[in-house]
Amino acid sequence: MSALIETRGLGWAYAPLTDGGSPVVALSDVDLAVEPGRFVGVVGPTGAGKSTLCMALAGVIPELADGDMAGEVLVAGRSTHDVSVADLSAHVGYVQQDPESQLFCASVEDELAFPLEQRGVDPRLIDRRIDETLALVGMEGMRSRVPTSLSGGQMQRVAIAAALVAEPDILVLDEPTAALDPDGRREVFAVLDRLRAARRLTVVMAEQHTRYLASSCDRIVVLDGGRVLRDADPAVFVREAPLLARLGVAAPEPDPVLRVSDTADETPADPAIRIEGLTHRYAGAAPGEPAALDDVSLTVPRGAFVGLVGRNGSGKTTLARHLNGLLRPTAGRVVVDGIDTADRPVNALAAHVGYAFQNPDHQIFCASTRDEIAFGARSLGRSEAWVDATTERLMETFGLTRFADVSPATLGYGDRRLVALASVLAMDAPILVLDEPTAGLDQRLAARLLDAVDAANAEGTTVVMISHDMHAVAAHCTHLLRLDAGRVAQWGELRSGSRDASPRPADRRETHGR
């Protein structure tokens, strides 16, 4: 069978983001051939070139991105050098990582109509195609919804529908589940399986979550440092487990079931966090709408490492934002480090609670990585000598020393996350709140990041970590708080008890998979 997609000696170097910078090599000598109907999973560490490969297959590289390309990419026999992204879209549908920036229309139906309108499809047929395609991704009845009002999993299903509505024969997906909770992830893969059963579709998907890749794909490409390291069948996950572990590629295992003991609510004398009857309603919420948080009460002892889990929209971030005063209780009380948050400004609480946001780009702005990491500590008025020493130490820990004088905004995603976390760690607050710190990171980077958090925890810092990664929660947390629709569904000390130093969280799953 002849290949539908072929890359020959594909290389790509991003143009430097700043004057005088050097180009960043993302891919070198990539030779791949994908036959029609295949489902190819692309795995590899953060920064291995997975996104870049997807961009090259969709034609974004070389047409729309800045940089230098070597070799060529042939899609359905035509070189992407000669075909525009728009023209290539007759063959390739492209789904990006961030749902918000790829759904640019004001309603789901417009999102799906757009590709059809561009192709001059008869308006009477457009409506029918929209209905058929929404049914295919399980989103019937959602036609007139505003995309931003949907859950992450639903948004990605709309993005997939919009990429497929004009019936391309190839679907390229760039980590479409990175921002999703486990349910959203399951939804996306279920849709892909259904689509492939319905018609012949070639899929190339970059993905960190390998659990479903192993069962859905018929081929796995392992990238590292922009090169193809392995190109094999899914059994590679078993055969080459040590190699993949070294690269930080997660093993395809089901999530552990987390159990807690109910002894957790013994009230300590001087707790790190005390929450009493906390209820939060967002201003402007409809009268009948349930509260975002509904009568949450719990006490977190000092030195605990709390895993805060639950579905998207269950109230995790709402709860976390009460811990440093970004949100104020509608009813109830939140006391952190002995201070009632009700009447303290956020910046005054910053000395007590360090808060790392989900998106590192919301906090990065300094001209150098060194300044960025030191910024929070300086704002708090810590001594210059202390700030310098701490910054150097953290850059060392996170392998960021080589970027000390580089603008952090120009770094890769994984490194930006590390910078953002380091800048919060540098503030040396007794309580640390982390909002999905490992999302989009490979296992190796995630472990490095969590080890640094463990080290702070071992010195007495209380940690609250929002996470969708149950392996990480099982491996690092002492306590578990599961929220469901704004209420506490599970709270207590993790039954697996103390953590151990095992580098493979999966090895110490003491409970059974789902």
């Binding site: 961009m55 034609g59 729309l64 525009s84 992204v85 728009a86 023209d87 290539l88 879209s89 007759a90 390739v92 492209y94 990006q96 918000e100 920036s101 790829q102 759904l103 640019f104 229309c105 004001a106 309603s107 139906e109 417009d110 109509a113 757009f114 590709p115 059809l116 309108e117 561009q118 192709r119 001059g120 499809v121 008869d122 308006p123 457009i126 505003v146 931003t148 919009a162 934002r321 440093n324 970004l326 400004p345 956020v346 910046n347 910053a350 000395a351 808060y355 946001f357 998106n359 780009d361 919301h362 906090q363 702005f365 910024f375 929070g376 704002s379 708090l380 905004a409 800048s423 503030m427």
Partner: protein, 261 residues
């Protein structure tokens, strides 16, 4: 501002043809810019509120417009007498500052003009969905890409506000004081917010551009085939009636101005 400008609904303005609404907005804009008569501006402002209310646009949205414009209105009302010391009937003077009946009336007119102009635009923006906006703009001769860009820019206004909010939160959580100090100090404090917002907005706009191209924006079509639109515009009797009313009122006002000079 964390909602789209468009207010979903099914009132008479929502159903009206966007082209007629463009004309309505344009006539009101010209009217309020040319006439300096407080009664005309007040009448226009009242009419705009009546239209929005009878279309069942929620009062909160109308209030929101006033809130957004409040600072500009206040600045103009306060500064007008400072820069325009003209007028016969001096009410109060202190050095070069003169408050006269004439310049106070003008200050009020100028103050009212801002919301009158604003609401003229929001008549269309609140009641026209993105798809009908693009369709309407192309139907009156605006190039497709320009219309699309405008409509998508409007769609991202609330997203942009959310980014600003998140960035402010993230910087405050790092101990940045955005609340107090002199104007200079506050400006400096907001610099990190601005830089982070710009970086994020840049990444996002790049992503949107890629998404649009990969969905086929600008795809080459076979000869004789043209871009279509899911939304079709038809002038219903109600639209013709509204159009006639707009033209009649505009003509009457122009005639009055010519006759009375």
């Amino acid at each position: 501002m964390d909602a789209d400008l468009y207010v979903p609904g099914d009132g008479w303005l929502h159903r009206a043809d966007p082209r007629v609404k463009f004309l309505l907005t344009a006539v009101l804009l010209v009217l309020c810019l040319v006439w300096r008569d407080p009664t005309v501006i007040l009448a226009a402002l009242t009419l705009e509120h009546v239209m929005l209310a009878t279309d069942h646009v929620p009062p909160e949205r109308i209030l929101w417009v006033w809130k957004v414009l409040a600072v500009i209105i206040a600045l103009i009302v306060v500064l007008w007498p400072v820069f325009d010391p003209s007028g016969e009937h001096v009410l109060w003077s202190w050095g070069w500052l003169r408050l006269t009946r004439e310049n106070l009336v003008m200050a009020a007119v100028m103050g009212l003009r801002i919301p009158a102009l604003g609401f003229a635009c929001f008549l269309t923006l609140f009641t026209t969905s993105q798809a009908r906006l693009v369709r309407g703009l192309t139907a009156v001769g605006v190039p497709y890409r320009a219309g699309l860009t405008l409509a998508i820019a409007l769609r991202y206004i609330p997203v942009f506000f959310r980014i600003v909010q998140s960035v402010c939160d993230a910087q405050r959580a790092r101990g940045l004081d955005l609340g107090g100090g002199s104007l200079m100090a506050r400006g400096r404090a907001y610099l990190p917010v601005l830089v982070a917002v710009l970086i994020r907005a840049y990444r996002m706009s790049q992503s949107v551009g890629w998404a649009m191209a990969s969905r086929g924006l600008g795809i080459r079509l076979p000869h004789g085939r043209r871009r279509t639109s899911r939304v079709t515009l038809t002038m219903r009797p109600a639209d013709w009636a509204l159009l006639a009313a707009i033209v009649a009122v505009a003509a009457a006002l122009v005639a009055e101005r010519i006759v009375l000079g």
